[in-house]
Amino acid sequence: MTLEIVLMWAALTFYAAATAMYGIGVTFSKDTLTGRALLVSTVGLVFQAASLGIRWERLGHGPYLGFYEVVNALVLCAAAFFIVVAWRNPRLSAAGIAVMPVTVLLLGGSMLSSKAEVAITAKLASYWLFIHVAFANLAFGAFAVSFGCAVAYVIRHRSAGGKWVRRLEKLPAQDVLENLTVRFVLVGFLFWAIMIATGAIWANEAWGSYWSWDPIETWSLIVWLIYAVYLHVRFTLKWHGERLAWFAIIAMPLALFALIGIPLAFNTPHAGIGGYGKDL
């Protein structure tokens, strides 16, 4: 087993431990444990970044080719987004109870998948690839944190008057949580738009057509429309509270499906790029 893989397993272990600590810390009001879970998550992030860095150095390209690399990069961004937010606002650390399980499931899935090394091909040999994929990862990171904030909102809202309120009282106020959810959706929406725009420009450079309605392009647009609906109902129809939080909770898995599920399900010209090197 290479150092790269050992580090990745270590990262997964730390993320899993952080997930357990968040679960116990929030359930039993152990604030110290919740605080330490953030530290453990950070250690996991360092290991994961180191592992991906080694792979990058070895293969000569960033983590954006093949299922293993794509999912890993998404997890890295989601974890990094959450950890930065939680370090800046420690009261948000409890949102890790929603974000960290997602990272564990995704990273675990990628560890069990093929770690095939996909070479840069003519269509991939473009600096647009880096920009396009980077913004996809950043968008997912922002959506994952919005998901975490929305889950925290719903848990506290549902347990109004119950014992969970006391346990979650260290979280920011409900309106602040909602505001944070909206802000991360906004950031993710912007990054997703940049991903689509750079993807269109790259597609035009790579194969002479900026939009082909292939399933990945279509689903990236669908996710963008879903979040556009979210922002419309929030800002113009003035939705607030639990139903808005549920919207953010349901939208994030759809973004994940667009990024991971569609390239697996469809063999498109894009599939070679997003996915995982099936066909170019």
Partner: protein, 481 residues
């Protein structure tokens, strides 16, 4: 009456609810469209899907889901969405003008402490009462912890956004509208198609030169005076250590015969000249055949294309055929050619064979083969019925190029850039007015504040009130006036 109807229509089209529902409908339609193969009913993927899903096919076909993104329903939704966006952008522009004015007034009011003491949103009694300076210092620290950095202007703490901060959303919506219009205009004025050109061959950029071509109703072929030539084709071109695949060298020639651009064309290295983009889709082999009379005089020369195929015994299939007619213009024979490929192991080598030959099939108009023969370059084969002979001049490569003439692409890029700039501004720029000052009276010291948080604030009004109250007068909330 007309005015009432007009207003009602504008109100309906400008409603946020309609825009939201249209976004939902377009999203759901796109989801459904992604689940079925897209294309005309004759395309193989569509036919295969229809055969395996006969029940669903009847519904899918009836609602036009195989052409989901060009169906009248989808285009109508996009059209109405465009109208909604226009009205929405107009409203947002008016709102931005109003907000900008308010921000300018607030910035001016920061110097007018008197008006702030008279009209404010929050009033918090300070208990115990420190002096005004301490109150402002505490308030400044509290607001900074909440992510609101204030500037001190005399006795007023001010955090007032710049008036340009409100323009992100209108700019984004106008740019979206411009993008929709550019896309629509681009479809009307663009032409795109696939053109096969053998190495050394030059073809005029005209509809007849294309195998498949599609042009918008406003595209003017008459104004196109250029030709495209393929100078060379390298099946395995490598640069920077990367195999670029089959790479043709393409020349673009103007109406006077001057070469405008000449370059290798491969993925991420398309040929661009003005609104024209040329991209290599695939490649194959070409056979150059001459018609020779019984007297040995060459009467014509044609290039037939041959595609690679793993499903035939020779490794190639004919792309097109040559028609032979008699003097009265009646079709006598059709001629097609394939080129048997060399093998490496079990696989065909997709290149010109070391000893190239063309397998020529001459058929009657009803498709019945009357002559099948193999000839090498320079050899002839006699056609049936004393119709002369056919000579193979050459076996080479051809490139199938995608040629797109679309002036809208640079405009689309510009629209995308403006839309993203507007969206970035809408996401990043705070839109807030926070003005805080202290009123000292016989009842003690009171902090008064004007708070307007429109967008992207790091806090909420209630949190600001709670935290200021906690900092200045214990845990309970202040009075809101």
């Amino acid at each position: 009456m007309i005015r009432t109807v007009w207003r009602g229509m504008v109100r309906f089209l400008g409603s946020a609810r309609l825009a939201t529902w249209l976004l939902v409908v377009v999203g759901v339609w796109s989801m459904l469209g992604s689940l079925v193969p897209q294309g005309v009913p004759l395309e193989s993927a569509v036919k295969a899907w229809a055969a395996s899903n006969p029940l669903a096919e009847s519904v899918v076909n009836a609602i036009g889901l195989h052409q989901a993104f060009s169906s009248p329903f989808f285009l109508a939704c996009v059209l109405v969405l465009g109208l909604c966006t226009a009205l929405c952008a107009w409203r947002r522009t008016k709102a931005a003008i109003g907000k900008g004015r308010t921000l300018r007034q607030a910035a001016a009011a920061a110097a007018d402490r008197q008006s702030l003491t008279e009209v404010h949103d929050l009033g918090i009694e300070c208990d115990p009462a420190p002096n005004g300076e301490e109150v402002l210092s505490l308030a400044s620290g509290t607001l900074e912890r909440l992510g609101i950095k204030t500037k001190r202007r005399d006795e007023v703490l001010a955090a007032v956004s710049s008036p340009w901060s409100v323009w992100g959303s209108p700019v984004f919506h106008w740019a979206l509208l411009a993008l929709i219009l550019t896309l629509a205009g681009g479809q009307l004025l663009r032409a795109h198609g696939l053109m096969g050109i053998a190495v050394g061959q030059t073809k005029a950029d005209a509809p007849d030169s294309y195998g498949v071509v599609s042009s918008g109703p406003l595209y003017d072929w008459g104004s196109v005076h250029r030709s495209i030539r393929v100078d060379a084709l390298e099946p395995d071109f490598v640069s920077d250590g990367i195999d670029r695949g089959p790479t043709p060298t393409v020349s673009l020639i103007d109406g006077a015969g001057n070469v405008i651009v000449k370059q290798r064309v491969y993925p991420n290295m398309t040929l661009k000249s003005g609104s024209l983009t040329i991209y290599p889709v695939t490649y194959g082999l070409s056979t150059t055949l001459s018609m020779v009379t019984t007297g040995g005089v060459e009467t014509g020369r044609e290039v037939l294309f041959v595609d690679f195929s793993g499903e035939t015994t020779s490794g190639t299939v004919p792309v097109d055929h040559l028609s032979l007619s008699d003097k009265a213009g009646n079709l006598r024979y059709t001629i097609s050619a394939t080129v048997p490929l060399d093998r490496r192991g079990d696989a065909f080598v997709q290149a010109v064979p070391a000893q190239p030959t063309a397998r020529v099939v001459v058929s009657t108009p009803d498709g019945k083969p009357v002559l099948i023969g193999a000839i090498s370059p320079g050899e002839r084969i006699a056609l049936p019925g004393a119709a002369g002979s056919l000579q193979l001049d050459d076996v080479g490569y051809y490139a199938r190029l995608q040629v797109v003439d679309d002036w809208s692409i640079p405009l689309l890029y510009a629209g995308l850039f403006v839309a993203l700039a507007g969206l970035t501004l809408a996401v990043v720029a705070r839109q807030q007015i926070v003005l805080v000052t202290v009123v000292e009276g016989p009842d003690g010291v009171k902090l008064v504040a004007k708070v307007r948080l429109w967008r992207n604030s790091s806090s909420s009004r209630s949190e600001i009130e709670t935290e200021l109250t906690r900092a200045l007068s214990g845990a309970e909330k202040g009075s809101t006036t």
